[in-house]
């Protein structure tokens, strides 16, 4: 096993029986969260780091579930011995959010009232619901104050919400490729994804599990659209160009041609639709759309961030157009005006929004340098 890997890890479950009142007003009587941990919690419980996942993420952020696993967890580039979130020093907690489809209570788990999967009747969630449930997980694990709460994209929104809702419970907030709220363009892409799913006959109004159907095509289409927005024009040009997978563009024949990018997208779509739940996808895109950090602060992000007590690291990537550097600058400017400690860098990277998952040297060095500071409690 690679010495920079956390190695073989196993998910754990935490059961919560105290009812959780959600932002929508409904109450979850009890629920389960699936999570993984990497590294050792120290005696003072001061080295715990919470990793919040993005739209299609889950608890398996680092390491392998078995020796046969081909791919490690989704953020293995950043979590492990000697990596930016160094498991030689930090105790890392990564969970599957409420409403997820990888083991935590959500649309695919049984509604105790009906004995059937929740499906589309699962309560709609806001980012703050995730934060409150994560705080319960922190209580469960005996963590009074996180050394850092860290997230990319939708995960960054959770990290920022943590800073406002539980200012005493985190020392650092790391917000990567995120935004204080989505733009109209961003919401529009999410709407296409939802429409693709909901217009698939297999969706059956969201009750596909009960009907034994699946909106596989719709979910694949949703993922294809999303995937394009996570890449940059340049990244797609580098990866695929106009390369053909089959056929020819020669004149004088009616034979069609298939571009590499077509088959790649279809592969990504079908892989995803085989492993992700459509109702969860809809629920999570809505949580993204509805998130608005400063709404209840009179739309003033400066007033919002005055609630925070932690230090912030904000990172963006030059070719990310889904969560562009401009969105990160807005966060930074609000933090400066709110007189909060902030560090910001725009990382030069070709990979678009997906860059936050990639081993880009400057990104890893800077992230690691900041986490060193978190470790030394500066």
């Amino acid at each position: 096993m690679n010495p920079a890997s956390v190695g073989i890890v196993a998910p754990q479950r935490a059961q919560f029986t105290e009812p959780l009142t959600l932002a929508c007003g409904r109450v979850l009587e009890d629920y389960e969260l699936v999570y993984e941990t990497y590294g050792q919690l120290n005696a003072r419980h001061s080295n715990a780091v919470l990793v919040c996942h993005a739209l299609s993420g889950h608890h398996h952020a680092a390491g392998y579930h078995s020796a046969e696993d081909r791919k490690p967890g989704w953020w293995d580039e950043c979590i492990g011995p000697g990596k930016p979130i160094d498991t030689n020093h930090f105790f890392v907690v990564s969970l599957n959010n409420l409403g997820g489809c990888h083991g935590s209570t959500g649309p695919v788990t049984l509604n105790p009232e009906t004995g059937q999967p929740w499906g589309p009747d699962f309560p709609s969630l806001r980012v703050r619901d995730w934060v409150h449930s994560q705080a319960r997980l922190a209580d469960y694990l005996g963590i009074e104050c996180w050394a850092a709460v860290i997230g990319g994209s939708l995960g960054g929104m959770q990290a920022m919400r943590w800073a406002l809702l539980y200012p005493q419970r985190l020392r650092h907030c790391v917000v990567i490729a995120s935004a204080m709220r989505l733009s109209a363009q961003n919401i529009a892409f999410n709407e296409i994804a939802r429409q693709a799913i909901q217009s698939d006959p297999g969706y059956a109004g969201g009750h596909y599990l009960a009907h034994n159907t699946l909106p596989a095509q719709g979910l694949a289409l949703a993922r294809m659209v999303g995937h394009i927005t996570y890449l940059s024009d340049g990244a797609m040009a580098n990866k695929f160009g106009r390369d053909l997978r089959s056929g020819s563009l020669e004149l004088g024949g009616e034979e069609g041609a298939e571009f590499q990018v077509q088959s790649y997208l279809r592969y990504q779509g079908s892989q995803f639709s085989g492993s992700f739940d459509a109702n969860t996808y809809i629920l999570m895109t809505r949580a993204l759309d509805y998130f608005d950090l400063a709404r209840e602060f009179g739309d003033d992000p400066v007033a919002a961030f005055r609630e925070a007590r932690c230090s912030f690291l904000v990172l963006s990537f030059s070719t990310d157009w889904r969560f562009s550097p401009r969105r990160s600058r807005e966060i930074v400017d609000a933090l400066i005006a709110a007189d909060r400690p902030v560090t910001y860098a725009e990382i030069e990277a070709d990979e678009g929004h997906d860059a936050f998952l990639m081993p880009i040297p400057r990104y890893l060095q800077l992230f690691g340098a900041y986490m060193q500071r978190v470790r030394e409690n500066r």
Partner: protein, 196 residues
């Protein structure tokens, strides 16, 4: 530590808020945090220097001061420092105005282009001076706005900027008698404390 930086410290109140424009690898800001317990923020655009400064535990924002500093509220810092960057910005006059909008006081250091050695170099060789302090060729240099002690003071006068104190550093570590008496001729580095 560059000589001009150690001189500046005494003008900075302990526990105050300091913005360091072009903070480089953060050496000076770290010194201020250690010695003066300031709350510091550095602006820098060089990726490697940013990483080095963050590794020192400093708050650094990647921002080009030439592109404006509108995101900093009026009078939001006690002191705004710009060490050896005045000659490298596109609009030194605007940056000076911004410094004093953002900060109660400003501290500026720059290499004095009228130092006798520069004059001698230019006068005798007829070529742009290249020295230990100014190691760049004219065509490949970050220093696009060299000025002299007299130039700077004239600009301050024109802009209504008050010079509260100045310090001249000669080319020896000893007491800079010549540099103090005839700064435009003998100061290698000029250091100013300014305000509105």
């Amino acid at each position: 530590m560059r000589l001009d930086l150690t001189h500046i410290q005494r003008w900075i109140e302990p526990g105050s808020k300091v913005l360091d424009l072009g903070c480089g690898n953060g050496e000076f800001l770290q010194l201020l945090q250690q010695e003066r317990e300031v709350r510091g923020l550095g602006l820098e655009i060089d990726p490697d220097k940013i990483t080095a400064a963050v590794a020192r535990g400093l708050n650094i924002v990647e921002q080009d001061m030439d592109a404006g500093m509108d995101n900093f509220p009026d009078q939001s810092f006690d002191t705004v420092v710009m060490a050896h960057a005045l000659q490298a910005v596109h609009y030194p006059d605007r940056v000076l105005d911004e410094m004093l909008r953002i900060g109660r006081q400003g501290i500026v250091t720059f290499p004095n282009f009228a130092h006798w050695s520069c004059r001698l170099y230019l006068g005798t060789r007829g070529r742009m001076p290249v020295s230990r302090f100014m190691p760049y060729t004219w065509y490949d240099t970050p220093n696009i706005h060299f000025c002299t002690v007299q130039d700077f003071e004239a600009l301050c006068e024109e802009r209504g900027i008050r010079i509260l104190a100045r310090d001249m550093v000669g080319n020896t570590e000893r007491k800079p008698l010549l540099a103090s008496a005839w700064p435009n001729l003998f100061a290698v580095t000029a250091i100013y404390l300014i305000s509105h």
